[in-house]
Amino acid sequence: METLKNALDFSDFPGLDLTLAASVAVFLMVFPFFPHSSFAMSTLIQFLIFSLYGMGWNTIGGYGGQVDLGKAQYLGIGAYTTAVMLLRWDMPFWISMPVGVLFSVTWSFIIGYPLFKLKGHYFAIATIATSLVLKDLFEVWDLVGGSRGIEILAGKYWTPDFLHLIFKGDTYYYYVILGFFFFGILFMNAFRKSRLGFQLRSIKDNEDIARSLGINAHWAKIKTYAIATAFVSAVGSFHACYVKNIEPEDTMSLDISILIALMAMLGGAGSLWGPIIGAAVLVPLKSYLKEWLGAQAGMVGIDLIIYGAIIMIISAAEPRGIWGMVEKARRRRKN
């Protein structure tokens, strides 16, 4: 009950933020009714998807300060679970998604226990390693189609199929992921005010102090990692139904993991709006770069250079990202 109240209570934000947030929410809800290009539609869906990944990352990476660069493995587990269950047993999305989350969370506990014995850069590197190992395994695993991946054949379903989440038009997908998006915001709003949210912020600043206040730092991190994982896995399941063609290289690559972390960090790690702001900046940039680079031979990889530059600028200028700058300016004006 109290959690629900916390989720719905945004009163600690100034009126300006809430007005802006409400305008964006209204815009997102009515957008499909206005004339738009399919490029704009797919970019917005990507924005919502990456916002959600970023929100998940933000729990452990932002509030908890544990830089996790292996989120793509959970995207893969979620996407593959849904795709395989759909192809083999015709399972509805609403069953395969929770099953995928269950697999992901189980896997996150298994690797989280040793991972969180590591600190700082060692932790980040280890998350990359686990993710890459899992990707390699998927590439040689015949059940999931090896490196060719799996294709969901939409032809045999009567669309719109809300049970299996198979649609012809993007608009349906848009509203489903928009629902996820609003749920994600409410969840994060409750999370940041919860006991675990407070404990994590303490762990981020100084683990010795956190532990001396009775916080089991190791367990708190593992729990939060599982929450982040559940987010990414659920959206990964959606991703499978949306793109219908998944391969390890697309869903589980290091690029995806880095993008997820980067969006949250650019927008503002450890803040409610940060991942959304980051996705709003980076997703259009990513789409544009992809389109632009497609026409330029020999320029492959320049997107990585740009992401790398962004990481360096954030860590040098303002580790708390765009939202950190806003908050700093506000505090200055207040004092």
Binding site: F198, R211, S212, L213, G214
Partner: protein, 244 residues
């Protein structure tokens, strides 16, 4: 009855013996001072008791339970809290929320943690500062926040690490008063590390003196400061002359 019982505690860092076979007790309801020159091993001793450093040998009993091998969060849950020389639970959180981090040890409810934190704030005369970040406060107020954060965990025994460091005389007087209140009114047993001798003499019912990792004296503060070993190791001849 002894609330804390340290028996033959030894802690080494490589070749350096930071605490060498130290034994002492803190009685229930007592206020014990721990003094000694810089590098004597006072903070290390606190860290060993609070479970931040694994100890090499000896035992520590708290409230009748052997805590020598417990993790620090388990020790905190038994009711042993310590403050750090610089103690901010989280720089992102304001003062009230920092204290809530401690209060969350006993409740998962945000409302209850908030109510308890507000009560502690009031008791510590910090009510006006609840909305500030800890980094925006003067040092004296930061020290109070450290005390308040530790109190949020409802400790039976509070280990205070140099809460008066960096304060001016009137601020020292105020925080001495506060510690006195925590001890007598709230019934918390206190053990404190302090370099400000006036404060130690005013507050402590008993003191333990460390030098080079060894316990060199223990007892009534008035008598300990006359001990030639203590004068030689820590207080200096001048202190002895002036306070003779």
């Amino acid at each position: 009855m002894a609330l804390l019982e340290v028996d033959n505690l030894t802690k080494r860092f490589g070749g350096l013996t930071a605490n060498n076979a130290i034994s002492f007790q803190v009685l229930e309801g007592e206020l014990l001072g721990l003094i000694g020159p810089n590098g004597a091993g006072k903070t290390t001793l606190f860290n060993c008791i609070a479970g931040l450093h694994p100890i090499d040998s000896g035992t520590i009993h708290f409230n009748g339970k052997n805590i020598s091998r417990l993790a620090s969060h388990e020790i905190a849950r038994l009711g042993l809290a310590r403050t750090f020389q610089i103690m901010v639970a989280s720089g992102d959180l304001n003062v009230l929320e920092n204290i809530m981090v401690g209060c969350f040890l006993h409740t998962a409810s945000r409302m209850r943690a908030k109510a308890e934190a507000a009560r502690i704030l009031e008791e510590m005369e910090l009510s006006d500062l609840g909305g500030f970040l800890v980094s925006e406060l003067p040092v004296a107020a930061q020290k109070r926040v450290a005390l308040a954060t530790a109190l949020g965990t409802r400790p039976k025994l509070l280990l205070l690490d140099e809460v008066a460091a960096g304060l001016n005389p009137s601020e020292i007087e105020a925080i001495t008063e506060t510690i006195h209140r925590i001890h007598s009114r709230m019934g918390v047993t206190v053990m404190l590390i302090e370099h400000v001798m006036e404060m130690v003499m005013n507050l402590s019912q008993r003191v333990v003196v460390l030098d080079y990792g060894q316990k060199i004296a223990e007892g009534d503060p008035g008598l300990v400061v006359k001990d030639p070993n203590v004068i030689k190791a820590y207080l200096g001849e001048r202190y002895a002359r002036e306070h003779a």
